[in-house]
């Protein structure tokens, strides 16, 4: 096995990256802001209405009976416009991954509607859902377990094309594999290799190439960069951005890393125990977080600067996320909330639009 070395282009762009000027950054940022404003006018691609996913907890092997239920997702609503990237953030167990799986119909939701291009995915039968999955693809978190170790990279990438019969002819499929590998920054020679011969970052590029193979419109990135090394994360983030631009893709970006979400997303929804507690434009949410949980989350993100870290007041939210099997009554955050008043334990707060486009579920604010 000969190693595939970084190409000349990679070396050059590494050198260019060192010299990127502040002016060029400003121009690029303005371009980005413009495209973000355009997104606000685009038509809605995905609409989620009051989505609920409750899992039964059963006891007994032969005559099993339901003893409780886990309310993984408990009545959430949001929309994603065409070309938009919506960030879905929250801590483990808050239901963000379950939301993604419901949209892919890997789970059948307990209640609610999932409209994709006007079609309600909840009602679709297996056959029509399979056809629609061509338009909805997913990139998983772990590039080690999401690639079949016994398949060659070329086979992995061409499998969705065979399932959806987008490229019936083998030569066309192989050509498309080469094109996709190049598009995702990999040497086309990787097509004959196995996943174990690649590093984590390279495998994640394969995962992205596989998702793109059937020309989807909407991609769910479920913690797509969390398992990667810091130096590799930025490469994959840039790749996701380039692809979004090039193919007009729409992303649902599920993540727990708040600084990455701020960089990549147009709008952000914060989830806690199966509910959306805050939803706003990216700059608005990070600049002016209103929900106490969002404030706690943002306050807990460490900054790589010792002076700033030592100077800032540390307000650590107490306690841990309660079990979704037995969520607190009233507002689910009230046992940990610094602002909680008596009524928070009784009344479930509705998501209210406190500023234009900025929705918050808190009755104190």
């Amino acid at each position: 096995m000969t190693p595939i070395e970084p190409t000349g282009a990679a070396r050059q762009s590494a050198q260019a990256a060192v010299r990127v000027s502040p002016v060029a950054q400003d121009v690029a940022l303005e371009h980005r802001r413009q495209s973000e404003r355009r997104v606000h006018l685009a038509p809605e691609l995905v609409t989620i209405r009051d989505l609920k996913m409750h899992f039964p907890v059963t006891e007994g092997a032969l005559f099993s009976r339901q003893v409780a239920q886990v309310r993984a997702v408990d009545g959430i609503s949001f929309t994603i416009r065409k070309g938009e990237t919506l960030g879905l953030v929250g801590e483990s167990g808050c239901g963000k991954t379950t939301t993604g799986r419901c949209i892919l119909r890997l789970e059948r939701p307990t209640a609610g509607e999932i409209l994709f291009d006007g079609k309600n995915l909840v009602d679709l039968d297996q056959k029509s859902m399979r056809a629609l999955r061509q338009k909805i693809q997913v990139i998983f978190q772990d590039p080690y377990s999401s690639l079949n170790p016994r398949m060659k990279i070329g086979e992995i990438i061409s499998e969705p094309m065979m399932v959806h019969r987008t490229e019936p002819n083998k030569a066309a499929r192989d050509a498309r594999v080469m094109e996709l590998l190049r598009l995702c920054g990999l040497d086309p020679r990787f097509a004959d290799r196995y996943p174990h011969e690649m590093s984590g970052g390279q495998r994640q590029r394969v995962g992205i190439a596989r998702a793109l193979s059937v020309r989807p419109e909407f991609i769910i990135c479920d913690e797509a960069i969390s398992a990667l090394d810091v130096s590799i994360q930025a490469q994959i983030i840039n790749l996701l951005e380039d692809l979004r631009e090039q193919f007009g893709l729409t992303y649902l970006f599920i993540a727990h890393d708040l600084s990455v979400v701020r960089h990549l997303c147009h709008r952000v929804a914060v989830m806690y125990l199966g509910k959306i507690v805050e939803l706003a434009d990216c700059d608005e949410l990070y600049g002016n977080p209103l929900h106490p949980y969002t404030q706690a989350l943002l306050g807990a993100v460490p900054v790589p600067d010792p002076d700033m870290e030592k100077a800032r007041a540390y307000r650590i939210v107490k306690g841990e996320v309660p079990s979704p099997m037995n969520p607190p009554r009233g507002c689910v955050f009230h046992p940990r909330c610094p602002l909680a008043i008596d009524s928070c334990a009784k009344n479930v707060p509705e998501l209210r639009e406190l500023r234009p486009g900025h929705w918050v579920a808190c009755s104190v604010i």
């Binding site: 050198q15 984590g200 810091v230 590799i232 994360q233 930025a234 960089h263 943002l298 010792p306 870290e309």
Partner: protein, 355 residues
């Protein structure tokens, strides 16, 4: 030869520093080499690293997966599985004893008692079939000649210290009754139970959520400061150690490539890799950028390293010399800042120009 140079430079540093620091030196690692001998070849996981820790000091070892940071930590306690791994060179002096020369019996006395460890994954490092109480008291009965009742009383006190409520009841529970953050608190209580001089925390918060991560780091910092325990935090995230570390060692491909007081690492990096790590992450404290500057290429294969600097294929500052000669870890900028780069001055100039 390069490690020898570091040694000499350190000698210079300590002369100018106050003498107290020399006296309170706790751990000195000198040219440590841990290799793995596999069928595919020799993997130089740790290749001649040297660093010191003083009493009560917190240092960080930062690097990406496979850079040798965990193997360095395991080597200190001689926990590297042999075969395939072996410590083939160097010395680890802890309170003036070379840990590498101790018998198996003697090193077991050191583990847990003088040097304790907190691992990344609290579920796999706690025994699922023993109660939390049994796991906490076992070490104390072993190392501190405590009676069972004394150990239980101390365990209750420790659980209270790490912020676990109702400790008497919790002692009788099993690890699966605890959440991830609570398990990590138990691990910290276990590490503290014999009042060690040094705690090595290997990615202590990687498996935890952000809000819990902040709780655990703050707890570790407060407890170690109060009890005067030195702390080595091993992490891949430069962000989390900014608040806690006095000194940061950055590792790449089995070597320390930069070592400096925390302020210098973040504000005046002298190695292109440290600079690239800092630049490649989006930061909450800075305005949004249009694009990130990633480190190009892939991390190197440790069994196939060339003669030159191992970061050279990915480095934007590389010159011809970098491909053939490996740079030694040398003092830059005067003071206590060490970097292993032929072009450290160019890195410094590029920083002053951009700011």
């Amino acid at each position: 030869m390069e490690a020898g140079q570091v040694k000499r430079l350190k000698g210079i540093c300590t002369v100018t520093d106050d003498e107290r620091r020399e006296v309170s030196r706790l751990l000195e690692i000198d040219r440590l080499q841990t290799y793995f001998f596999s069928a595919a070849g020799v993997v130089k996981a740790v290749d001649g690293i040297s660093f010191d820790i003083n009493q009560g000091e917190t240092i960080a070892i930062v690097g990406e997966s496979g850079c040798g940071k965990s193997v360095s930590a395991l080597s200190i306690l001689r926990l590297v599985a042999d075969p395939p791994g072996r410590i083939i060179g160097g010395s680890i002096r802890f309170q003036n004893r070379d840990l590498l020369k101790l018998s198996d019996e003697e090193i077991r006395e050191v583990r847990g008692k003088d040097i304790a460890m907190v691992f990344q994954e609290p579920m796999t490092s706690l025994n699922p079939v023993l109660t939390i109480g049994r796991q906490l008291t076992e070490t104390m009965e072993q190392h501190r000649d405590m009676s069972h009742d004394q150990a239980v009383a101390r365990a209750i006190e420790l659980l209270g210290m790490v912020g676990i409520s109702d400790p008497e009841r919790r002692l009788r529970q099993y690890p699966h009754h605890f959440s991830g953050g609570m398990r990590q608190r138990v691990m910290i209580a276990m590490a503290l139970c014999c009042e060690p001089k040094l705690i090595i925390a290997d990615e202590p918060t990687t498996a935890l959520d952000v809000t819990v991560q902040a709780q655990i780091l703050e707890l570790m910092k407060n407890l170690t400061r109060r009890m005067g325990v030195a702390l080595i935090i091993i992490t891949h995230n430069l962000g989390i150690v900014a608040r806690y570390a006095d000194r940061v060692n950055v590792m790449y491909a089995g070597k320390i490539i930069e070592s400096a007081p925390a302020h210098d690492i973040y504000h005046r990096p002298r190695h292109p890799y440290t600079l690239a790590l800092l630049r490649s992450v989006p930061r909450m404290d800075q305005p949004r950028r249009a694009r990130l500057d990633p480190v190009q290429g892939q991390p190197p294969d440790l069994s196939r390293l060339g003669a030159g600097c191992s970061f050279q294929p990915r480095c934007g500052f590389a010159v011809a010399r970098c491909a053939s000669e490996s740079p030694p870890l040398e003092r830059v900028d005067g003071g206590d800042h060490l970097a292993a780069c032929w072009e450290a001055n160019t890195v410094a100039r590029s920083l002053t120009r951009s700011s």
